[in-house]
């Protein structure tokens, strides 16, 4: 980055002077990929008027509640969530937010699978959704191990042989409560939030997938005219 020593004027800086700076390149890329009307649109294609499109945003809402209630649990600690009535309530909210998150995510996944939502250069949107789902499974699993009750003990002792059989047990010990807690409240939530955020940005970038009988512009797909009979 260089220092602009010229007197301050309202004249715009020529594009050629800043084009090589990485900040300018990133800014131009972001402006090109996500202009404001694409990032926060107020109009959507007519085919979006279906209940099946609601489950994506419900999944995001579920993830938001998981993070909010998880932050409250982290602030107050296990002696609060195991004993006090308010703590038990927030603990239950955390559990049921996760249940709702996975419920909506699976319905969203089924809907997108049968729409073949990877069509139209949306492969990365599909892939980030799949990865987010898989990482969420790991986050939920380490959450079960972090309950600090007999349930978490049972699950960890049942899981250790399977994890060890994969070889991952050498560095990822499900009986190590501190390690599982750190994965649950630091590493995996960061990964889920980042990938889910990228997933939403890609949906904004590429748009939602049109039905099979419509083109990307919303026109009906024209069937190819039959060719000449080779016989």
């Amino acid at each position: 980055m260089s220092i602009d020593t010229r007197p301050s004027t309202s004249e715009p800086v020529p594009a050629s002077e800043e084009s090589r700076q990485w900040t300018a390149r990133v800014r131009r890329s972001a402006e090109s990929a996500f202009p404001p009307n694409r990032l926060l649109p107020d109009r959507q294609p007519a085919y979006m008027a279906s209940w099946i499109y609601v489950f994506g945003v419900l999944t995001v809402v579920g993830l938001g509640w998981v993070i909010i209630t998880g932050c409250v649990l982290a602030v107050m600690g296990p002696s609060w969530w195991h004993v006090s009535s308010v703590g038990l309530f927030v603990n239950s909210l955390h559990l049921w937010s996760v249940e709702a998150f996975f419920f909506f995510m699976v319905v969203h996944l089924w809907g997108k699978f049968f729409m073949a939502a990877w069509r139209g250069n949306r492969r990365l949107t599909w892939a980030t959704g799949v990865i987010s789902f898989l990482v969420s499974v790991g986050a939920a699993f380490t959450g079960y191990l972090s309950q600090q009750n007999f349930d978490s003990q049972w699950i960890s002792t049942q899981a250790k042989d399977g994890i060890n059989a994969t070889g991952a047990g050498a560095v990822w010990n499900v009986l190590n409560f501190g390690q599982m807690l750190m994965w649950h409240i630091v590493l995996l939530p960061i990964v889920v939030a980042l990938i889910a955020g990228l997933h939403v940005l890609l949906v904004r970038r590429r748009g939602i997938v049109p039905p099979f009988d419509l083109t990307e512009d919303g026109d009906e797909v024209q069937e190819a005219a039959p060719g000449p009979d080779p016989a």
Partner: protein
């Protein structure tokens, strides 16, 4: 509290869990209920009409 008491009265959560066996498939009743609900919601989401505005289609 009231809802908890009502649910507790409707479903006895004490004791061991219940399982369904179909040949080599074994599944808890709780998981079966959740999967059935998900399939039901998925079918409803496809076939239930979505409320639309009267003017404009975009």
């Amino acid at each position: 509290m009231l809802l908890g008491l009502l649910c507790g009265a409707l479903i006895n959560l004490n004791g061991s869990g219940h399982y369904i066996h179909w040949g080599f498939i074994q599944m808890s009743v709780a998981n079966f209920v959740v999967i059935t609900l998900m399939v039901g919601v998925f079918v409803l989401a496809i076939f239930l009409p979505f409320p639309k505005r009267k003017r404009g289609n975009r």
